[in-house]
Amino acid sequence: MLSDCDLQTRLSEAFHEQADPAAELGVDAAGLFRQGTRLRRRRIAARAASALAAAALVAGVWIVRTGPPEPGAQPPGLLLDAAIASPQPAAAADAGMPPYYVIADHSRPVAEVRAPKTGKILSPVPLPAGIDPKMSQVAAVGTGRSFVLALFSFPRTRFYLLRLAAGGRSAHLSSLPVRPLAAGEYADAIAVSPDGRRLAVAVQSGGGRRGIVEVMTLATGGQPWPRAWVLLAR
């Protein structure tokens, strides 16, 4: 049996035979450093963009839930203020689960109305031709028997209303009178106010470098506040 000392000596000899400490490493140090600097900048930009997108979504939901600011009142300037969500009404908490939920099938242009308790498909809803189901967003309206869908069909994202009836087994999809997003803009998330009158859309553009939250009235499609929050990721 080898002693520790013998084994260490043999290891040392084997290591020195395998690798030479004086070997040359042929790398372009200056190029690597510049590449590393770019990597660091990209990492910082990605983190900032994620933080801003999350803040924008929180702020959008907060705006939708609390309604427009009083005349003369200051808009919430601190993200901390925006992050304080309004408590859920007691009635809604008592109501338990929503009656239905809707998801878009990513492999085909079909939305599925499902039962929350079982996950069973109640009715498949064909979506308009040419839409990309992977880029769709869904938000429930009011009591959960209607849903707003943001559907992307190159080059624009349009908004639709899905009404359910007959225990979720009948569904009707209609176009909403809301201005479609401009080409190059994508809906990252959507939310509808409890009264079903306002729609908040987290809009991403510029390849993810720019994001805004747009709040629109569902009745007219106009923007109630010109004070859209423009958030730039640098």
Partner: protein, 179 residues
Amino acid sequence: MPGGDEAEFAEFTAREGGRLLGFAVLLTGDWQDAEDLVQMALLRSASRWSVARRRPEGYARAVLVNLARDRWRARRRYHAEPFADGLTHLSPAAAGDGTAAVLDRQMLLRACRLLPVQQRAVLVLRFWEDRSVEETAAVLGCTTGTVKSHTHRALARLRLALAEAPELQVRHDRNEAPC
């Protein structure tokens, strides 16, 4: 001062590049893998140079160990072959010169590759770079107790692996005339 940082990084690369490459070779057992890992480790060090510059040798080695560990985890299922394969037989012509010693060292290196990366890193730092327990602990960012236990376990496993390996034998091929 970006220009100063770049010069500092270039100086570090020129000074430590060879040792980092050797360290990576002994961790991975493969020159191409080692060169890839060293490039990646230097890139990561450069991208966090404001932190890495405090002790760049340790930082780059710690990154190397992490990268080697990721690679080892991804590949170990494909490396289940016995480490002594092809190293247990000598031709009679080779038996007289130093070939047996070379094969013995090759078997030891192959046995090292069966060890977890952290244990291998400790062995390389201790017995290739001749670092003390304290220096090794500082480089790897662990305690001296961890270094000692890794060393002890690694040597025990190596000893066991070598004890179980077949003895080196001189093989007389049928069509080869005896010396």
